[in-house]
């Protein structure tokens, strides 16, 4: 569904050139849940920005369903690292931003959003402003907004990075539910090793900046996954070892 080949990107930081992505190749198949695992500051957000068409790579190509889409937008739903809710809109109004900007039927969008609010445990908070919501609730609203764009491919940038462990595992359940029921394809960025293993079909481990693919790990376990299961623990150890190796190199 999505294929990146040879993506390179350098930026200027304090006037000095800084290589962020050094020839990245990766592939996400239809209906797959793929995680990008990488140390902080290695260029994960930069990569998603490139896939979403917000910035241009210096070189490399992006294919979406076989068609080259380098630097165009509108083929993905992108949930950025911050929840980015509009403070002047209520939770529900925030959730239907996508359909609203597309000029879709607002009545229907509202109805759909209400269903998702119910499902995500946000009932009764439809008319609250973002400032009145907890961090976990805001992330859920952002997730609903991402869902309502109706796109098949989701880019999620550390959506649960700032949440406590309990809220996070609740949101994992919601996300997996949505992923399976609506047959989405997800490219999920995280720097949390366990999170990557709990959720994804495949994990790309990135090197420290400049980012390259260091390893690709398959996670052939059924969901929902159990952290205590031997196969899970084995994969975790292996991934841990690769991460440690990378940290020593860097």
């Amino acid at each position: 569904m999505l294929r990146l080949s040879g993506i390179e990107k350098g930026i200027l930081r304090n006037g000095l050139p800084l290589k962020v992505l050094a020839g990245l190749d990766l592939e996400v198949g239809e209906g797959e849940f793929v995680s990008l695992l990488g140390p902080s500051g290695c260029g994960k957000t930069t990569l998603l920005n490139i896939v979403a068409g917000l910035i241009r790579p210096d070189s490399g190509r992006i294919f979406f369903n076989g068609r080259e889409v380098s630097s165009c937008r509108g083929h993905v739903a992108y949930m950025q690292q911050d929840d980015l809710l509009l403070p002047w809109r209520t939770a529900l109004e925030n959730a239907i931003l996508g359909p609203e900007l597309k000029g879709a039927d607002l009545h229907r969008a509202r109805h759909e959003a209400e269903g998702l609010f119910h499902r995500f445990g946000l009932e009764g908070f439809e008319d609250h402003y973002p400032a009145e919501l907890s961090g976990g609730m805001r992330q859920r609203v952002a997730l609903i907004r991402t869902l309502l764009t109706g796109k098949r491919l989701f880019l999620l940038d550390e959506p649960f990075g700032s949440l406590d462990a309990m809220t996070r595992s609740v949101l994992h359940r919601y996300l997996l539910g949505v992923f399976e029921e609506f047959e989405k394809t997800i490219l999920f960025v995280t720097h949390d090793l366990e999170e990557a293993l709990l959720l994804s079909d495949r994990v790309y481990l990135l090197t420290a900046r400049p980012a390259r693919v260091k390893a690709l790990l398959e996670v052939p376990l059924p969901r929902p996954r159990d952290r205590g299961e031997p196969r899970f623990i084995r994969l975790e150890r292996e991934l841990e070892r690769l991460v440690q190796e990378e940290l020593h190199v860097a």
Binding site: R73, W88, L101
Partner: protein
Amino acid sequence: MWPKARDYLPPLGLLLALFGLWELVAWRLELPFILPAPSAIFIRMASDWLLLLRHALVTLEEVLLGLAIAFIFGLALALLIFHSKTLERAIYPLVIAVQNVPVFAIAPILVLWLGYGLFSKVAVAALIIFFPLVVNTVDGLRSTDRGLVDLFRVLEASRGQLLLKLHLPHALPFILSGCKVGVTLAVVGAVIGEWVGSNAGLGFLMVQANARLKIDLLFAAIFWLAALSIALFGLVSAIERAALPWRRVGQG
């Protein structure tokens, strides 16, 4: 939402105490042509209420018209500056520079050019509100979060949608606080315009009362002026509260 009794009782009490003190001093001094007693001023306000009201309405009209004109042109200029890099580079530094020129100083020129009637005062009021409003609005438009702009870009928003659904709502608090600052200054501006040359308005009434040694009427006009300023400030604040309900939440 509304200030509680606990909030407005202390200043009210202090005000009453000051009036009481003033009353005593005025009675002791017995100089009604320099310092009339508050009671005398209030009696004057009651007996001449129609006269005061008529002139206050003129000043109010000047300020409101000035506000409306400044609002329309200020917003338009701010949008132009926001949208065009060239205009921004050419005009914006000038706007910021002119913002610091006391418009009061050019009131005589405006009266000279536009005459003794309403227009010269409307012009003074409008000019006073205009510059801070433009600067505030441009600041507001510019300070939109980069991430939100990216969000709109990913959702393929049109330029119009970006402006109407992102930049303007984001700038609204800035615009309204510009109006709030501007409107009270505009009252002063209109009155100065009236002092320079006019045939109506509270400023005109003050000059007249002063010339005829009706000092109690002069003070009565000043009281009205203060009330007018406070009322206008309150009005813009009320509009602010109504237009920005989301700002009230999360702050208790």
